[in-house]
Assembly symmetry: D2
Homo-oligomer: 114 residues x 4
């Protein structure tokens, strides 16, 4: 079947989420440093091709619950709440990562012509 | 627009390539250990949902050209040649990573009903 | 204070454990693929300078307890049992990673002249 | 041989550099986003035990030389200039990462009683 602009838009969106997750999960983080990590993750992914916008939020309550006796934890998948819009000529794809049913899920929220 | 099975198939394919790249690039590697790294990468990604098949090849010539005086290098994006088939109900998507025009590119090779 | 061969031996040992942990934690893994991941991790770290020997074991029971409904999980720090010997001219340092008191701890087991 | 506080101080310093390198190398980066990545890396490592201070600088000239046609690159080892002080009861260890002789080298700068 012919590969369409829509296919490429959705494919690029998937790449970004997989990259974000496996690049940054594991990073040491605390309540004090969560904000700079959120900013670095969103800016880092935003330089990749076709990223129109991205917001990254790290769940503070989960950080707190996971703090070691040394006062920090590591970024874990379930802590991530991500919303990103990928724009490929002709299409915008809105995707996200969210914690649902016990897992950090990646999913397509909306596809629109643009 | 309604999100289709085809969209989800392509999205999942993108996730796998982004994950593979950012999880394993940076791993120390030499000519002697390239094979075990290839096997671990392909098996690791193969346990994720919807992966029908995957093959990973690390360019030996590039390893050789990049060897440090200590006799090893790190896995770099351009060294990767990946071919993967993602199967989502109704569709099979064949995607890959290959070195083209100076970059490690991720691309859709084929989409078929299945 | 003068930096000694012993200091460098211990420093190199620390580098290897930090590298191993942050390179491979997060890798998708299942009971079926744990062995190839163990082998790739130990071979990957073994190519780095001053590594005399290394063994990596991934806790199968923890994999099982962490399996998602998709039949896999991600390599987590607590799953790792690592034993490594770093040899720097004049000294051998035996270090490890093990799960103790709820955390994956990195520690020096023994330092010997060699 | 008895493991001393000095050994542990140096060991912890090695762990931090290995962790930093393998967690963040590979992150997409551009001239515009280098600053937020530097800040996130230094803050992330600073939450780990025994880190007294750390500064991370990403070489802007190397970013520029490595920019893809998409206007970004990935953080590579040679781009890193790191200076960190690890404080373990009784000792302070000053370590760094710097680009020398074609490689990103990790080394001990100074050990002092403290």
């Amino acid at each position: 079947m012919t590969i369409t602009a829509r296919d490429n838009a959705v494919f690029e969106a998937g790449i970004k989420l997989g990259a974000l997750y496996h690049q940054f999960v594991g990073s040491p983080v605390s309540l004090r440093t969560a904000e700079s990590l959120e900013k670095a993750i969103s800016e880092s992914i935003s330089v990749q091709p076709y990223v129109k916008s991205i917001s990254v939020s790290i769940n503070r309550k989960m950080i707190e619950e996971n703090l070691s006796s040394f006062g920090y934890t590591e970024l874990k998948g379930p802590m991530l709440d991500v919303d990103a819009v990928i724009k490929y000529p002709g299409y915008e794809v809105n995707v996200g990562i969210a914690y649902k049913d016990g897992y950090p899920l990646m999913f397509i929220k909306e596809i629109r012509e643009a």
